[in-house]
């Protein structure tokens, strides 16, 4: 059976079930409400970290990009309550930049790189509180942290430039 006819047959199957057993009226709206209520009910709205220190010629939003063209590594420090985050950015040439992070106190969580117009990337924070991303393109990004402990909401850095 050719790929084309298989796709067409599956299209027929989608079509008949869509017509004969459509989702109930208002289901999407009810689910949107339920999901939004769960986010706010659990207190999972994103919290914002503060940039408290920048070392070795860090380039933060708004600053000229010429500085990072020099290719020197720099370090940013962010805090949120008890949480302390150090991010070391090593600008790269062809294969992209590298970000090394240390977060304390260490706990089980996922860290994501969020950059405009690009798919997010994620990794687990190690038991030591360390994480790393390599091959990042130049531009603005944020780091987002999602503790596995649901009593702790996710939090993110402000936007910074690499």
């Amino acid at each position: 059976m050719s790929e084309m006819s298989r796709e067409r047959l599956l299209e027929v199957v989608r079509h008949v079930y869509d017509a004969r057993d459509p989702m109930p009226e208002g289901l999407v709206e009810r689910m949107q409400d339920a999901a939004a209520a769960e986010v706010s009910g659990l207190g999972l709205d994103l919290e914002l970290m503060l940039l408290v220190e920048q070392l070795e010629g860090a380039s933060v939003r708004g600053e000229s990009a010429t500085r990072r063209a020099a290719g020197t590594a720099y370090t940013l420090r962010f805090t949120l309550g008890e949480v302390d985050l150090l991010v070391r950015v090593a600008p790269g040439e062809g294969d992209g930049s590298r970000v090394d992070g240390w977060i304390a106190p260490a706990e089980e969580m996922t860290v994501r790189v969020l950059a405009a117009d690009q798919p997010s990337r994620a990794t687990a924070v190690a038991e030591t509180g360390r994480f790393e991303f390599a091959g990042l393109p130049q531009g603005l990004l944020r780091l987002r942290f999602e503790p596995q402990d649901l009593s702790r909401p996710p939090f993110a850095t402000p936007t910074f430039e690499i």
């Binding site: 059976m1 006819s5 298989r6 796709e7 067409r8 047959l9 599956l10 299209e11 027929v12 199957v13 989608r14 079509h15 008949v16 079930y17 869509d18 017509a19 004969r20 057993d21 459509p22 989702m23 109930p24 289901l27 999407v28 009810r30 689910m31 949107q32 339920a34 999901a35 939004a36 769960e38 986010v39 659990l42 999972l44 994103l46 969580m109 996922t110 994501r112 969020l114 405009a116 798919p119 997010s120 994620a122 990794t123 687990a124 944020r142 987002r144 999602e146 503790p147 596995q148 649901l150 996710p154 993110a156």
Partner: protein, 211 residues
């Protein structure tokens, strides 16, 4: 050569209906983009993700023979699981698959409980009931659509369930499908092929597809 190509019926009657009839690949891409927007703290991203994937989850969950009420419960618990377990989703490109697998597992569990509680229940009853449709669209669609439906509905129950899940999912995970359908994982692919072949024969007999 028979009369019509089934996609002609699909095109004619899908106008103005929901986006669920889109190919799963494009639905999955929209889901990933919406999930990323939500992660970037845009709450509209979550609404959009729910809007894009709820019609798919409905179809996948209903394949397990759950009532409308139970199916809605399962779809809702899938969305609550997403909110609670977002940290377990490492690859945002896999969000569509994560949601459908979560929904299928919950649907399967719910169906098991339901069957123990009421073994006489006809799990396909709801699907056989005629749906309310507007008189105008019904008049235009009836002939072609009834033939397509008759062909799909005449398939063995296992085929209907498998094809319904496979049709709405993008590269479905065979390991979980095998557990749900009580089949060895190696037989999912061949069974899908046999079920599609049966459907093709039924459509040819109904004059709805070229030989």
């Amino acid at each position: 050569m028979a009369t019509a190509d089934p996609s002609a019926d699909v095109d004619a009657s899908a106008q103005g209906t929901r986006e669920v009839a889109d190919a799963p690949g494009s639905v999955w891409e929209r889901a990933t983009a919406a999930f990323d927007r939500w992660l970037a703290d845009d709450e509209e991203g979550l609404s959009e993700l729910v809007g894009v994937m709820t019609p798919v989850l409905w179809q996948v969950v209903r394949a397990y023979g759950l009532s409308h009420e139970l199916a809605e419960d399962v779809v809702q618990s899938t969305w609550l699981a997403l909110v609670r377990r977002q940290s377990s989703i490492i690859d945002s490109a896999a969000i569509g698959g994560w949601l459908t697998i979560t929904a299928r597992r919950e649907a399967w569990r719910t169906a098991q409980v339901q069957h123990r509680a009421d073994p006489t229940q006809d799990e396909d009853l709801a699907v056989h009931l005629p749906q309310q449709r507007s008189a105008e669209s019904a008049a235009v669609e009836r002939d072609g659509q009834d033939r397509l439906w008759a062909a799909v509905n005449a398939l063995p129950e296992r085929c209907r369930r498998l094809l319904r899940v496979v049709a709405f999912e993008h590269r479905p995970d065979y390991a979980t499908l095998a557990v749900d359908l009580g089949m060895p994982v190696g037989s999912i692919g061949p069974t899908r092929g046999r079920c599609l072949a049966k459907l093709r024969v039924a459509l040819i007999e109904a004059g709805d597809v070229d030989e």
